[in-house]
Symmetry: C2
Amino acid sequence: MTKYYELEQLGHHKDDILLMIHADDAGLSCSQNAATIEALKMGIVNSYSIMVPCPWFWDMANFAKNHPQYDCGIHLTLSCEWKSYKFGPVLPASEVPSLVDQYGYFHGSRETIKKLADPSEVKKELKAQIELALKAGIQPTHLDSHMYTLGLTNELLKVYKELGEEYKLPIFLNKELLQSVGNFTPIPQLGTMVHQVHIGNFNAMKNEGLSAKYKEIIQDLVPGLHILLIHPAFNNMEMKQVCLDHPNFGAEWRQMDFDFFTDPNTATLLKERNIKPISWREIQLSSL
Amino acid sequence: MTKYYELEQLGHHKDDILLMIHADDAGLSCSQNAATIEALKMGIVNSYSIMVPCPWFWDMANFAKNHPQYDCGIHLTLSCEWKSYKFGPVLPASEVPSLVDQYGYFHGSRETIKKLADPSEVKKELKAQIELALKAGIQPTHLDSHMYTLGLTNELLKVYKELGEEYKLPIFLNKELLQSVGNFTPIPQLGTMVHQVHIGNFNAMKNEGLSAKYKEIIQDLVPGLHILLIHPAFNNMEMKQVCLDHPNFGAEWRQMDFDFFTDPNTATLLKERNIKPISWREIQLSSL
């Protein structure tokens, strides 16, 4: 039986609609940091997670340290999916050879990671990412996984679970996400799950734009604990070059995320539907 | 006796004014790369050097590989002078402990480097930077030194000289630069020197702007081999944050560099004074 968070245990009514609007990929670039920070300050986006191996980690860590009121997770990172913008592990490449290409950068695709990544090296690297975040002064509220690569295999899921236990942090789990990334049948019993996860869609982005998709998602929410994953960034010179030839989750997508989730009409829509915000910190506290 | 490049040996007349307009810091950021590339294509800037340990190295390396017609040096890097934007050595921090702070990033100031950097670790790290550049497909035309940190001590200068010899590449040397960074008396005899080096000035930047300063420099050039060091970048969100609280060589300075050295009037001024461009490749070939 899949175990879900119980709304009553989180201090809510069982018929409530609880929604976390979570900004992924903080630390990736200057644009991503600036848009994430602005979106958090506007008040609809209420949680984010930070990529420790990325070039703009330090900038975002400074923000996190000075603004502990916002949920901040560690966006555990094993991939660099960009063509012209490269980063690699926090550990020396020689210590985690199965995680890197010939230049010492992370692999770009889930397929390569699934094929090559040694779970013991994954664990070592991800512990180093968490340790560096702690050393930089971040007080993490949760762990999640960039491109959900930790959902690729049972061995990687085991690492994810162990990291959550060792650092006493909730890990972000959802049945449909596990199925879509790892094709699990049955779904492994790892821990408590978020009822539903929502993400924009590339076709919607190209056609009607993401705001229509997000409105639809919000309109259709049913009672339960939901997470909406977004990637706010500004569609500027830097972000266009980071996302070169990668329109899926590209710079245009990210600008649409920023625009919709800083729009006062979105706040109104959430209020009209009586959707309540929830943070990982609340979840963490209710699980203690 | 200080040995200078001889203009006749470079295939020019002894009364010629030879000027290289050299863009430092390529690879530092997206903004720096984009402005450097645009400036090179405009034709006045005719040489640049690339910082291998920086986040945007790969992007610039792609350009270098596909545009071998432009001089491209390795801007040997031992420092990270930025507050919110951090990078460290190409080698694992544990292999070059004297070059890094407690987080594994490069030290920020010449003073700290002078005090702490072990020359054998400097050599190991800088060889790794050159090797990574070669592996990425760059065919370097010269070596120079970011913030001229290799001019801090005799031991570091020895490393610089040895790297030039081992890779058969000219190293950028100038008497006044050595004096200003390393306070040498007398100047060590390391190799052939560039007659004069010219750089913008922070006071000029704040007051009359850098273009007045650069016009003055160009007007005053005398026969000899000159290098004018510039740092073109766009004064955009990314560059402002890279240069946070660091107006000297900051984002505004860099935009002024871009503006002046892509202005057609600057080309006209150079032509009026019959100033001839020279590249490191020409210098390299004449030294073989």
